[in-house]
Structures are given as C-alpha cells and as structure tokens.
C-alpha cells in the first residue's frame, strides 16, 4: 500500500519503558548484560511430564518471582509471570491504570497446560484467554479490560503495532503491551510432531541448523504519546499474509517481503543499522527470511536472531526481541547472533558474529513470521540525541 499517511506525526507513539522476565532473570538491563556476555537460557532437560525424549529448552525459574506472588495459589504459573512483569513495569514508570491506558496481552496458548491435565490445579475455565486476562486485570487494577491478542508467533510484535494504531487514532493516551507463553506438553508434543525441534541448542541461519528450541519469557512494554526523552518511535510497520500455506512459509517470502516493504515505505526508507530477524533456526523459516530480505535489498545490513539466547518464546518473542533491540540502540552495542558459525541460507546475510565496540545506532528493523502465513515487519527509531 503506497502513500499511506501517518496520522498526526507530531504526536508519535513512543515506547518509553519495558520489563523482561526470562530464564536469564528479571529486568531488561540484566537480560541485556547477560546476552552481551554470551549467556544462553537454553539448557538440556529431561521433563517426562512434557516429553519422553530429552529437550533443549529455556524455562523460567519461579524462584525469581517475589516470594508472596510465587506462593500465591490464586494464580497459575504463567499468570504469576505476567503479573510480576506488569507490576514491575507499572511501578517503574508510574503508569496510569485508568481508562486512558490500553492493555494488550499477547499469547498463543495462555493457560493451555490446564487442558485435560489431571494435575492442573485450576478449573478448566481458566483456559479461556479472556478469563486469564480478567484475573490479571483485577490483580493489577486496570480499569480497561486486558485484551488478549492471539496471532501465532507474530503476536508480540503485532500487539505493539496494534496498540500504536489505536493510540494514534486518539482513543488512548497510553498503552501497556505484555506478551508471554508457557512451555507445556501441549506445545512440545505439537512441535515434535512437526519435527521442528532441534536436538541441540539452535543455530539460526547456520548451514547446519536443524530446528528450534522452545523457550519461555514474559515481556512488557509501555507506550505513550507524551513526548519524552530516551524513547523509541514506531516509524513504520507492515503485516501481510503469505496466502500460501498454513504452516510452511512462502518459498518466495511473499508476505514478509510485502511487510518489510510497507514498513520501510511508511518509515520513509531510513538507513537501517541492524535487523532483528525471526530466525527460528528451522530450515524453512531462515531460508524464507533470507529470500525476503534479499528481495528488499537488505542482506548487507548487520542481522541477528536472538533465539539462540532464549529459544522461541512464541507469544513473547516479538516483544522480547524488540525490547532487546531497543536496548541495543540505546547502548550502541550490536547483539551477536548466537549459534551461528557458517553461512547456510539461500541468500547470504550479514550475521553479527561477535560483539563490537560501541557505535551510533539509531534505527532497526524487526521481523517475525508465524503459523497461518502471517508476517510482520516494524521499523523502530530512537528519538532525540543518540549515543
């Protein structure tokens, strides 16, 4: 769609805060530091409740929750992580909880671990995402409903842009966007049936990649239209379906290509300092991304996938990875793409192999793709002075 006009550019939507809860720990700064030190959350585990075979995955340790919350039997495990992230984010930024604040919750399966599970411990009604959302709303004290958005693996990134669009239309002054998913037998068995799971730590874009690792995370972001320093602007976004196949990505990367092109056009084709790709490390996804990026002329831009550090965190991934990209901009440090050794996609990409010295970074492109043929691309840029 050429010639899209952005409504009221003088009051852009800004990302003004974020919070992460991951297997590496709580807080964005801590996560960013550990990632820059090369630490990965992916570990080998044997979890008979989830699978008969050993798994490489990244699970959050409940020990990092505030003890009162951790032991609160009113909430499921996933809800506790959502609550902890939201409470920390709101406290840090003094975010209003009244009608001015839109709240979006991105998740693919929510409390699905309760379904058919004799050891669930909660009524099956809790599986309904709107029920889970209401539990969280009441705990946090939001006036507006917490609205779940469930769009496969692009949910996290999509929730950000949906929030942005709703804010730009003037309906809301602020938004809180939170994304998360929990690993369960439900999810593991499904990906296993798809032969999508790697038998080792995953290797995005590498020649010998053979699948993904599953991971857990909760990521939260705070958006505002009030101009503030040290924020990041959503400069442009595009989301287009492949219209090709419900589980396999388009061989020509059609949907992602259109998404990137639209995002870049809306952003006025800025210079891109780095790309945070989806990079799940399946053979098909990474190839498709290289094809889409090649079609857009972006294969020379420094690129990483963060799935080597966290695994594929499903409903959290788009948001988690965007937040780390934002911190990359703020610190001027590119994040290396963990797990990559050798070129192995249809079109070679400029994979970030190691940490570099600080340099001015202003703008990055985030891409994501998911089951159902969905894709999204978003351009983010720092406001004000950088470096």
């Amino acid at each position: 769609m050429e010639g899209k006009t952005r409504i009221d550019m003088s009051r852009d939507v800004l990302i003004a805060g974020d919070y992460l809860i991951t297997p590496l720990g709580a807080g964005t700064a801590l996560n960013f530091r550990k990632v820059m030190e090369g630490e990965s959350a992916v570990k080998q585990a044997y979890l008979p409740e989830m699978a008969e075979h050993p798994l490489f995955l990244a699970r959050i340790d409940e020990g990092l929750l505030p003890p009162l919350l951790r032991d609160d039997e009113r909430y499921t495990r996933l809800e506790k992580f959502f609550i902890a992230a939201l409470e920390a984010l709101i406290a840090e930024h003094d975010i209003p909880k009244d009608g001015r604040t839109l709240v979006l919750l991105s998740t693919t399966k929510g409390n699905i671990s309760l379904l058919n599970n004799p050891r669930g411990g909660f009524p099956e009604e809790r599986i309904y995402l709107s029920t889970m959302a209401e539990v969280i709303r009441r705990r946090i004290g939001f006036e507006n409903p917490v609205i779940p958005l469930s769009n496969a693996c692009i949910s996290g990134a999509l929730a950000l842009t949906v929030a942005g669009q709703l804010m730009q239309s003037g309906r809301y002054e602020y938004a809180v966007v939170v994304g998360g998913d929990e690993i369960s037998r439900f999810i593991v068995s499904g990906f296993h049936a798809f032969q999508a799971l790697a038998d080792a730590p995953c290797r995005p874009f590498d020649r010998d990649r053979n699948g993904l690792n599953l991971g857990e995370a909760v990521a939260a972001a705070y958006l505002t239209r009030i101009p503030k320093p040290d924020t990041v602007r959503i400069l442009g976004t595009g989301s287009f379906n492949d219209a090709n196949h419900i589980s396999g990505p388009s061989r020509t990367g059609e949907g992602l290509y259109r998404s990137i092109r639209a995002a870049m056009a809306e952003a006025d084709s800025p210079a891109i300092d780095f790309i945070s790709a989806h990079g799940t490390a399946t053979r098909y996804n990474d190839d498709m991304e290289s094809i889409a990026l090649h079609r857009c002329g972006l294969t020379a831009v420094p690129l990483h996938s963060l799935k080597g550090y966290y695994g594929h965190t499903l409903g959290a991934s788009g948001l988690l990875e965007t937040i780390l990209g934002i911190h990359s901009l703020k610190t001027g440090r590119l994040i290396p793409s963990l797990g990559f050794v050798q070129e192995g996609t249809t079109h070679p990409l400029n994979i970030i192999r190691q940490a570099t010295a600080e340099r001015p970074l202003r703008t990055f492109l985030k891409t994501a793709s998911g089951f159902g043929g969905c894709n999204i691309a978003t351009v983010f840029q720092q406001t004000g002075q950088h470096g």
Partner: protein, 195 residues
C-alpha cells in the same frame, strides 16, 4: 452469520439444518450446498470450516475480494475444537500420539490463514479474544485501518465455534457501502432475531 445450525447471508436464510445435528454434519452439508471444489476444506477444523463457508458466501454477494482485504476476527474460545482434540491425543493412557494436522489448527489465526489462501489475500490479520462479540472495540479499530489506508476492505467480526456453540458473525467493511460501519449498526445486525 451462522447461528448454531442456521446460516444467513445479508439477513436471508441460506441453510437451516437439524438443530440436533452435529457440528461436523452441519458444516459438511453447508459445504456441499456451496457446490464448490476445495478438498482442503476437509482437513480444516470446525472453526476454519465455519469461517470458510461464511466468507465463501459473503464473496458470492460482494464479488472477489481485493487482495489487501484485512481480516480482524475475534472469539472467546480461541481454537477450542482443535485444542481439545490435540489435548486428548496427548493425554492418552497408551502414550502421546500427536497429529501435526491437528496441532496446526490449535491457533485461532489459522482460520484467517485459510481465508487468505482461498481468496489470495495478502493483508493484515489480527485475532482478538473477548468474552462476547465486542463491536465497541472492533468497529473503531476497523475504521482506523480503513482511514489510514492500511486496507481497502476489512472483514471483521466474531467467530465462536465450540462443540456446543456455533456463533459466527462476519461483515465486510470498506470506504463505500450501503450502511455505516458503526457500533450501533453492527450491534443491531448481530442481535437480530431470526425465525
């Protein structure tokens, strides 16, 4: 609109099946009435089948959809049918026997993917979850998309399909049309009593 075992297009009844028939039987007979050849239909789960039939009927009224027709769907139960099927596959006494064909449908946005493939739509898809049909939220969002030029048309609405309920209400919105895309109008259409 699909209400339990009846299908209405623009208010006119297309099919009224036996209210005690199973969802599967109902959807199969609706498909046959469509007189179309789309073998992939049979692989879909109940949610996708219902959505497929609804959009197929809509396009017979509107003509082929522009490729940038956005899809903004919502429901309460997500991919209930596929979720329950997959969950029963994996909690069996004789061990886990997961089916990839079932698992792929355990995401509510797959329905939009199936529509995109059928009608060759390269467009934005968003799936929201609400307790009940929420035109107060959806209508402004759809209007925002149209006004910002992000889509030429939008199909939006409510797609709640479970073992017990089939409650589907979709409408096409565009820049021009016979009726205003407002919350009040949508509520009226959705709440309409049908014999």
């Amino acid at each position: 609109m699909i209400r339990e075992r009846s299908i209405y297009i623009d208010g006119a009844r297309f099919l009224s099946a036996d209210p005690h028939s199973s969802l599967g039987e109902f959807l199969r007979s609706a498909y046959r009435m469509l007189e179309t050849d789309y073998p992939k239909f049979h692989k879909m789960d109940g949610l996708c089948k219902a959505v497929f039939i609804a959009v197929e009927l809509m396009t017979r009224q509107t003509g082929p959809l522009p490729t940038d027709t956005a899809l903004i769907f919502s429901n309460r139960s997500s991919s209930f049918l596929a979720d329950h099927k997959h969950a029963s596959d994996i909690f069996r006494p004789d061990g886990v026997v997961a089916s990839p064909a079932t698992f792929v449908y355990t995401l509510p946005n797959i329905a939009m993917g199936e529509i995109s493939i059928r009608h060759q739509l390269h467009s934005e898809n968003v799936f929201f979850i609400f307790d009940s049909y929420n035109p107060e939220f959806l209508a402004p969002y759809v209007n925002t998309l149209l006004h910002a030029g992000r889509a030429e048309r939008v199909i939006s609405g409510w797609t709640e399909v479970t073992e017990e309920r089939c409650d589907l209400f979709l409408c096409v919105a565009g820049a021009k049309g016979p009726a205003p895309h407002t919350i009040e109008h949508l509520k009226r259409l959705y709440d309409k009593e049908h014999e």
